[in-house]
């Protein structure tokens, strides 16, 4: 039996379901050609963002990558504005400028994301630095993949954050794939967490498809970081269900492997467990499903109906002084 409260378990379940349904809808939008650029699907990795972000306060910071597609929602980004942003519309928190890869909503502490996956890690270090500088007890959490852990900036950041004991949680979502390359071809360590030893910070590996395990490990890590004990590297082993982007033919991947990853489904795993423990009933699943479907549909409709910026809006926000770009 879980040691967590019934309420917390149901909150986690609802979030897993919400992220799953939202992502499925976003994939439909991408396939219909409405999403500018690419959509880097988060299907299968939802337990990581739910397990970690549910510990955070509104004033805590998160940063992410091109595949950070649930984190912002759990952190508090409005579902409707989220869809508008992904579609490049005016009502998105970034005015449609961030799109799918660079979503940020400062108001809820979702500070930004970048497809240059090692680079954005340094932003989170700066956010943690600022918190410490100002004497606040905020925590900065940065999400990235196993691929990012091969970039130099990542290593510089682990070192710097540890030397300065900054309140940063480095969360590696290890899905085994760096774009089109499997981990075994680009790394000689099994666990990204092992890299922490080189810089003197704790490295922890958990089953990233087990939302409770993630929640447990993240909770302990965040409490230590908030207490001032310095940064921690938390690796969550998970699975990428789809390709690097929606529509990726995945010529580099064996069909058995692609089909096999669904057995790790974090949503179904958690749902079965909660059913078995009597915390969830079939009726509750139906009700929650209905509620979530309604929210998601409403958000999708809002996003589709949100206006695009005008072409001349492109001159906004180049510099802090309006119009300076012209």
């Amino acid at each position: 039996m879980s040691s967590l409260s019934r309420e917390k378990l149901l909150e986690m379940f609802t979030w897993l379901l919400r992220l799953r349904r939202m992502e499925e809808k976003c994939i439909e939008l991408a396939l219909s050609g409405m999403v500018p650029g690419w959509l880097h699907s988060y299907l299968g990795q939802e337990a990581v963002s739910v397990g970690v972000v549910l510990h955070l306060r509104r004033e805590d910071y998160i940063t992410g990558t091109h595949r950070s597609r649930g984190h912002d929602l759990v952190k508090g980004v409005d579902l409707k504005r989220y869809v508008a942003e992904i579609l490049g519309r005016k009502d998105g928190p970034c005015f449609g400028r961030g799109g799918e890869m660079h979503l940020a909503d400062k108001e809820v502490g979702a500070m930004g994301a970048s497809g240059i996956v090692g680079g954005i890690v340094s932003t989170a270090v700066g956010l943690g630095f600022a918190a410490k500088y100002k004497g606040e007890d905020r925590v900065s959490v940065t999400f990235f993949g196993d691929g990012a852990s091969n970039q130099g900036t990542f290593h510089e950041c682990l070192n710097l954050a540890t030397v300065w004991k900054l309140p940063v949680l480095f969360v590696c979502e290890n899905n085994g794939w760096a774009e089109f390359s499997p981990q075994g071809k680009v790394m000689c360590v099994e666990n990204v967490a092992a890299r922490a030893a080189a810089y003197g910070l704790p490295g922890i590996t958990v089953d990233g498809d087990d939302v409770e395990a993630v929640y447990q490990a993240a909770g302990e890590a965040i409490a230590r970081i908030r207490h001032g004990d310095g940064p921690i590297l938390l690796e969550c082993k998970t699975h990428r269900w789809l390709g690097h982007y929606v529509g990726d033919p995945q010529k580099y991947r064996m069909p058995q492997e692609v089909e096999g990853v669904r057995q790790f489904d974090p949503l179904m795993r958690f749902e079965s467990k909660l059913l078995k423990e009597g915390i969830l009933t079939e009726e509750m699943i139906r009700e929650t499903g209905e509620k979530v479907r309604h929210e998601v549909n409403e958000a999708i409709e809002f996003g589709k109906n949100s206006p695009f910026p005008e072409p001349q809006d492109m001159f906004k926000f180049v510099y802090a002084e309006e119009g300076a770009a012209k």
Binding site: Y61, T63, G92, P93, C94, F95, G96, R97, G98, H102, A104, D105, K106, M111, G112, S114, I116, G119, I120, V121, S122, T123, A124, V125, G126, L127, G128, F129, A130, A131, Y133, K134, S140, G152, T153, E156, C157, N159, L160, V163, K316, F317, V318, Y319, A320, E321, A324, A325
Partner: protein, 324 residues
């Protein structure tokens, strides 16, 4: 007024701004205990402590990126990069992230980040410690680029840069740090984006940047003795560039020479020349001349390096070609 060295103008600006605003902090390699490789940060660690003056590991990407996060959270970082050449190892946080953060996040953030770095050949420092790469950065929307030539401009522009809500690259020339000049005793600012006419003249406009201003002024003295009057314009800020001052001078003289230490090809001289042609071609009485370094890396060997750096003589030659 008081006399002060170019390098001490940097220190004074940093000192006054860090004292003025608690959100300002200094970060970089060897700026604390080492006081900066050119002594730019002299006495600041002792005065303000290691919360405000941060010595970093040799990790330019990490601490340049840190500046972005810190700015998002409301701080005003002043990042030191020693040699401008080292900006190449932190181009991603600077170009992809800092310069674009306000834009791609839809105006949610301001980016009050100042980056100080040295330019210039002349110390035998060679290809990795001498480059003038200002054109690269002037080509990036979202950044501002400053290149002062006098102690007065150094102090006033650096203070303005630190108070600016945009990322500003402040490039000082390491070979003129001992040059002295007068500055007011009281506080003053020099606005970004405003050129300064360092010497008025009537026959030829010479736009010169950073330490080339000194060379242009030397050329002006020699040319005056020969009856040629040149107007020396120091843009001071490369981006935004004060084309208005340059064009109004060209309208007066009808002749233009542009001088920078950076290699001539694809340098900012090309941008200035093209803009003058676009906007004031009818006023030109002669081809525009450019003086810049040859298309080679910066050599270490003294005779080669001396020949590499554009000189007053080269400016005189260029002026004479079009003056008559």
């Amino acid at each position: 007024m008081k006399e002060i060295r170019y390098v001490r103008a940097i220190t004074e600006a940093l000192d006054e701004e860090i004292a003025r605003d608690e959100k300002v902090f200094l970060i970089g390699e060897d700026i604390g205990r080492g006081e900066g490789i050119f002594n730019t940060h002299r006495g600041l660690l002792a005065k303000y402590g290691d919360k405000r003056v941060k010595d970093t590991p040799i990790s330019e990407s990490a601490f340049m990126g840190l500046a972005l996060g810190a700015a998002m959270a409301g701080l005003r970082p002043v990042v030191d990069i020693l040699f401008m050449d080292f900006l190449t190892v932190c181009m991603d946080p600077l170009i992809n992230h800092i310069a674009k953060a306000r834009y791609m996040f839809g105006g949610q953030y301001t980016m009050p980040i100042t980056i100080t770095a040295s330019t210039g050949a002349g110390l035998g420092a060679g290809p990795h410690h001498s480059q003038c790469l200002e054109a690269w950065f002037a080509h990036i929307p979202g950044l501002k680029v400053v290149m002062p030539s006098t102690p007065y401009d150094v102090k006033g522009l650096l203070k303005s840069a630190i108070r600016d809500d945009n990322p500003v690259l402040f490039l000082y020339d390491k070979t003129i740090i001992a040059v002295k000049g007068e500055i007011p005793e009281e506080e003053y600012l020099v606005p970004l984006g405003k050129a300064d006419i360092k010497r008025e003249g009537t026959d030829v406009t010479v736009v010169a940047v950073s330490k080339m201003v000194t060379q242009a002024l030397m050329a002006a003295d020699k040319l005056a003795a020969e009856g040629i009057s040149i107007e020396v314009i120091d843009p001071r800020t490369i981006s935004p560039l004060d084309m208005e001052t340059i064009i109004s001078s060209v309208k007066k003289t009808s002749k233009l020479v542009i001088v920078h230490e950076a290699v001539k090809k694809f340098g900012i001289g090309a941008e200035i020349a093209a803009t003058v042609v676009e906007e004031a071609m009818d006023y030109l009485d002669a081809p525009i001349k450019r003086v810049g370094a040859p298309f080679t890396p910066v050599p270490i060997s003294p005779p080669e390096e001396k020949a590499y750096i554009p000189s007053a003589d080269q400016i005189i030659e260029a002026v004479k070609e079009i003056a008559s």
